[in-house]
């Protein structure tokens, strides 16, 4: 690689390079500034994430392939990067007050999150099995640490340890699958793999059994990262044990990045073998939707409830992927963007659940919220209606955009099960609304809720509620994402 191609490559990866340098800079600022280090580092991190977002949106035009084809830029990647960066910035903003109150204010917290986001961007732009793995590990390692960030409490340490052990197991499975794929094809590059498999399919040959086994292992490892059933066991414990601001982060940005990775791996190199992985995705999707709907019913802790809810939502997003068509991928992109909005809004409300200077996490603590905090109750009700998929909220459109392609692709059973489980899921979403509006008020939550949290709640609630007025930008963006992706893959 000569200087010219290195320069092109660095410009192609400008958002990632900028964010990585910013992370190191914030680390230095944190080390050398004394008492106010955390506040400064948090502000700088939000600024860095927004800066990277601006670079993705308005930066110089970036080459499609960079770093010896290890890195790819396309419309799909840009769309997912925008969602990830926006989600990460918003979750950092809503955790300002939380980490100050809960004595978590160490400047390494935002630094680790910035590095996790760098890993996510690398995952989204991976065009090689090795760059996929390195990005994934960068993300996971930072997340293991922040899960255990409140190291003095048993639950947080347990969450970190559990996440670390199961994450290492899934990484091992994925590496094993990758080694099989490499062993049978002699390459790790997505581009070469896609050409190879497409040629094989065109010649009417069978997929090699070894490569197929490798594909299954890779999918299993990825399913762990998006916490899809049957690899979901860690999710409720980690979500409950980790500090709430960390849980909010876990539920938003990493989910999107991992889902983008699943789409990229399955539609990119293995795009020619849709019928091989379709049945796996259909099974994982049905199992996730069922578990998300049924297991959440008896939860009393709102963080656990959100964990099961996120498992269910992953199942719905996978419905679009199972279709394996351009419309399906557009559905996945739209669904993940809407999911992130709803989740961030809900977690912003959860972060306000404080009584007498202590965080509370019980669903019963929400009783009568409409009398004590009418606006927050209204926002939370909007998020719950949206998650349940009740029109005209955004969540309803998200579900339409994934179910329609599935029906067009002939996956009727999948779509019917999806609709049925979302009816079951309505029960626990609407129970929260019932608690807030029809039960006698319990003790109200502490005031004030914090200006930035209030702004995020209001903003996301308005977006979720009035999505139907102007769905254009998001739908067009997602369509462009799916289109660009197919152009590159095909």
């Amino acid at each position: 690689m000569d200087t010219a191609s290195l320069t092109t490559s660095l410009i192609a990866a400008l958002p990632e390079v900028f964010l990585a340098c910013a992370g190191i800079f914030i680390l230095m600022v944190g080390v050398f500034s004394g008492a106010r280090a955390t506040h400064t580092a948090m502000l700088l991190s939000v600024a860095a994430l927004v800066g990277a977002l601006v670079l993705v949106l308005f930066g110089p035009s970036r080459a499609a392939f960079a770093f010896n084809d290890l890195f790819v830029n396309d419309g799909f990647g840009d769309f997912m990067k925008i969602v990830v960066l926006g989600a990460a910035a918003l979750t950092l903003i809503i955790s300002f007050g939380y980490i100050r109150r809960e004595q978590l204010d160490r400047f390494e917290y935002p630094v680790l999150l910035v590095f996790a986001v760098v890993g996510m961007l690398m995952m989204i732009s991976a065009n090689d099995l090795i760059s996929l793995y390195v990005g994934l590990e960068l993300q996971s390692l930072a997340l293991y640490v922040v899960a255990a960030f409140r190291r003095d409490t048993l639950r947080s340490s347990e969450a970190g340890l559990k996440y670390f052990l199961l994450g290492a197991l899934s990484s091992g499975m994925m590496l094993y699958g990758m080694s099989l794929v490499y062993g049978f094809t002699g390459t790790t590059s997505f581009t070469v793999l896609a050409d190879h498999f497409a040629g094989q399919a065109a010649a009417g040959q069978e997929l090699w059994l070894g490569a197929l086994v490798g594909l299954v292992f890779v999918v299993a490892g990825l399913a762990f990262k998006i916490s899809a059933v049957p690899f979901h066991m860690w999710t409720p414990d980690v979500y409950e044990g980790a500090p709430t601001s960390v849980t909010a982060f876990f539920a938003a940005a990493p989910k999107v990045a991992a889902m983008a990775l699943v789409v990229r791996v399955l539609m990119g190199p293995f795009g020619a073998w849709v019928e091989q992985w379709q049945q796996i995705v259909v099974f994982v999707s049905i199992a996730s939707m069922l578990l998300g709907a049924l297991a959440a019913i008896q939860q009393t802790n709102i963080k656990r409830l959100m964990a099961y809810s996120s498992i269910g939502h992953v199942g719905y997003a996978l419905v679009g992927l199972a279709a394996g068509t351009e419309a399906g991928i557009r559905g996945v992109a739209i669904y993940m963007a809407i999911y992130v909005l709803m989740t961030i809004g809900t977690f912003a409300c959860i972060l306000c659940m404080r009584q007498k200077e202590r965080m509370v996490e019980g669903i019963d603590d929400l009783k009568g919220l409409s009398k004590t905090h009418p606006l927050m109750a209204l926002a939370l009700a909007i998020f719950m209606f949206s998650m349940a998929g009740i029109p005209p909220m955004a969540g309803f459109f998200g579900k339409i955009y994934v179910f329609l392609p599935a029906i067009e692709a002939g996956l009727y059973a999948l779509a019917v099960i999806g609709v049925l489980t979302s009816v079951v899921a309505c029960y626990y979403y609407l129970r929260i609304v019932k608690l807030m509006y029809f039960d006698e008020p319990a003790e109200g939550f502490d005031r004030p809720v914090g200006r930035e949290v209030g702004a995020v709640i209001a903003g996301t609630a308005v977006l979720v509620l009035f999505f139907f007025v102007a769905p254009g930008p998001l739908v067009d963006g997602a369509a462009a994402a799916a289109d660009a992706f197919f152009a590159v893959a095909g």
């Binding site: 190191i24 770093f67 890195f71 680790l112 640490v145 002699g186």
Partner: protein, 205 residues
């Protein structure tokens, strides 16, 4: 050529012997020391086949870091050797079985290489520079810092995150620790440190 052969047998014999000593030595510290000896001899074998980079890495990483870490751990833990050895016979069948499977697999691999050498060629598709012109350190460096510079830098970030994580999860600011502040020591003046008292003769202070 004869020197090479002699060296090979020397390194191989010492390595096998020290490997046996690793599991049979009574003192765990001796075990670790024998492990280091085994690593050094393995490095010698690597040099003999022209893989000098692997040899250096083996010495730097395994002897310099891993084995020294083992040594510290073994010396800090109070390991009771007699207790550890109690289950030796109990685990012998399963251990022997695993060893036997490994042996069979090794023989099979060697058999394939001898009987069907074309299987190995199918894997080696990556173009390699001719070994007469470049050393393997240079060849590795050339791809590592050019074709794979992205992964190289990304791995660096992973290690940085690991380091930050380890510090975050273990560093504690303890109260009442007296640290040496060299600047304060140097800046101390005679007037701050000592007091001259005029002691009248025949009585104490």
């Amino acid at each position: 050529m004869i020197v090479q052969t002699l060296c090979f047998y020397l390194f191989a014999a010492v390595m096998v012997a020290s490997a046996v000593m690793v599991i049979s030595a009574r003192n765990p510290v001796h075990s670790v020391l024998y492990l280091i000896l085994a690593f050094f001899n393995a490095a010698g074998l690597f040099v003999l086949i022209g893989a000098e980079f692997l040899a250096m890495i083996l010495v730097v990483v395994y002897v310099g870091a891993v084995a020294v870490l083992f040594l510290f751990v073994v010396m800090m833990l109070d390991v009771n050797v007699a207790e550890l050895r109690q289950g030796f016979l109990q685990y012998l069948p399963i251990g022997g079985l695993i060893g036997l499977i490994l042996l069979v697999e090794l023989v099979m691999v060697a058999g394939f290489v001898i009987t069907a050498p074309e299987v190995g060629e199918a894997v080696a598709r990556v173009p390699m520079p001719p070994p007469e012109q470049v050393t393997n350190t240079e060849a590795l460096g050339r791809v590592l810092y050019t074709d794979y510079v992205y992964l190289f830098q990304a791995s660096g970030l992973v290690l940085l995150v690991a380091m930050i994580g380890a510090i975050v999860l273990t560093l504690r600011q303890r109260e009442g620790v007296r640290r040496q502040v060299i600047a304060a020591q140097i800046a101390r003046k005679r007037s701050e440190a000592i007091e001259v008292k005029d002691v009248p003769s025949g009585s104490g202070i």
